[in-house]
Symmetry: C2
Subunit: 214 residues, 2 copies
């Protein structure tokens, strides 16, 4: 297979949009989520993120990466002022609308209205969920880590509620996200469905992995 | 669709293995990478990670999440002492071997030998790449962020070299990871192939996204 090699200088020398496309695809497949928030005046906001990452199970912690605060970042502003947000999986019927939330709408425009998704509210929780989403969870802000090297912010929260289709929860606790048609993102703009190859048994030094059935 | 609801206490009350399976699948699809390192005595190490995340394009920064340092963590130890590591995409022909690197081999056993993958070296770079991997990149350690709340460590490095099949690099800089058969992980043990639904144009408030062809 014919290979291309790039070194540090080659990447730095790329035109900035090209470099962003290259670097954003280098890590492989990513989670596809819509983060819902509300500002202190009651305006809802919805934004697509591909950087949501598991940080711990006990306590139940999840992080996401927010770009440097050089332009308006309504999601982060709202989380900082209300301490609440929702994370909603994107499935194949809503990925076009999900992508469209990345357009730069003015602060007074709700992306829910602009792209045609429906805010959904849960008792005792202020931030809006996405009604059309199948797997969704409510988050409470815990801490943020600004990364000195480039101003990017890692936002960390704890899971306070989860809603998931009954058919997706398997006996061992695993949520079968493929069964909910959750998709995955590559690069800046690639959307992919998945097809499971296998679930594999817990790896032990003295035996080969075997396929699990569920 | 019939739904299950879980609240914070329900998650904390789960048996620990079940909670790990639940929480590790909650964020959706994840990147699938093998991280290669060498210790100061020249022993190679290889470990699977599903937490590799893009942090910035200029400088070219990538992070991964390392669990709390309560047991032996050879990857992190080696990175801290040599400052170098490689990140290698997992494709469908090597995911069984990739999974098997998660078994707890003693420090003197190289996972390359144990699972049947081949270390590959690049001039002027000490950490081993995975010969069988198609998309791979060399990393230099930049900084680590211990998260106070649970001891998890975010390890940040900069990209110093990238090797990618020529057919996967598109004109706008995007790397077509699906063309390299890169897979995606769900939960603790789910492996999935992908099928691209679309690439979408840069979103603007006044127009709907259209499909890009490449």
């Amino acid at each position: 297979m014919d290979l291309l090699q790039f070194f540090e200088k080659d990447i730095l020398d790329m035109e900035s949009r090209k470099r962003a496309a290259f670097m954003n695809s280098l890590t492989g497949f990513k989670s596809a989520s819509l983060i819902g928030t509300m500002d202190t005046s009651g305006n809802t906001n919805l934004a697509i993120f591909s950087s949501v990452v598991h940080l711990g199970s006990n306590p139940a912690l999840i992080g996401f990466v927010n770009r440097p605060d050089t332009t308006e970042r309504h999601t982060l502003e709202n989380i900082q002022s209300t301490k609440q947000y929702t994370i909603n999986h994107i499935h194949r019927e809503i990925f076009l609308k999900g992508h469209q939330t990345s357009a730069r709408y003015p602060k007074e425009v709700s992306e829910f209205d602009a792209v045609g998704l429906t805010p959904e509210f849960s008792t005792g929780f202020q931030a809006p969920f996405v009604k059309e989403s199948r797997i969704k969870y409510g988050m409470e802000f815990v801490e943020s880590h600004p990364l000195k090297i480039n101003g990017t912010i890692l936002v960390i929260g704890k899971v306070v509620s989860v809603s998931v289709p009954t058919v997706c929860v398997t006996e061992d606790g695993t949520i079968d996200v493929e069964k909910a048609d959750t998709i995955t993102i590559s690069g800046l703009d690639g959307y992919h469905a998945t097809q499971r190859l296998a679930r594999l048994s817990y790896a032990k030094p003295d035996q080969s992995p075997r396929e699990l059935n569920d």
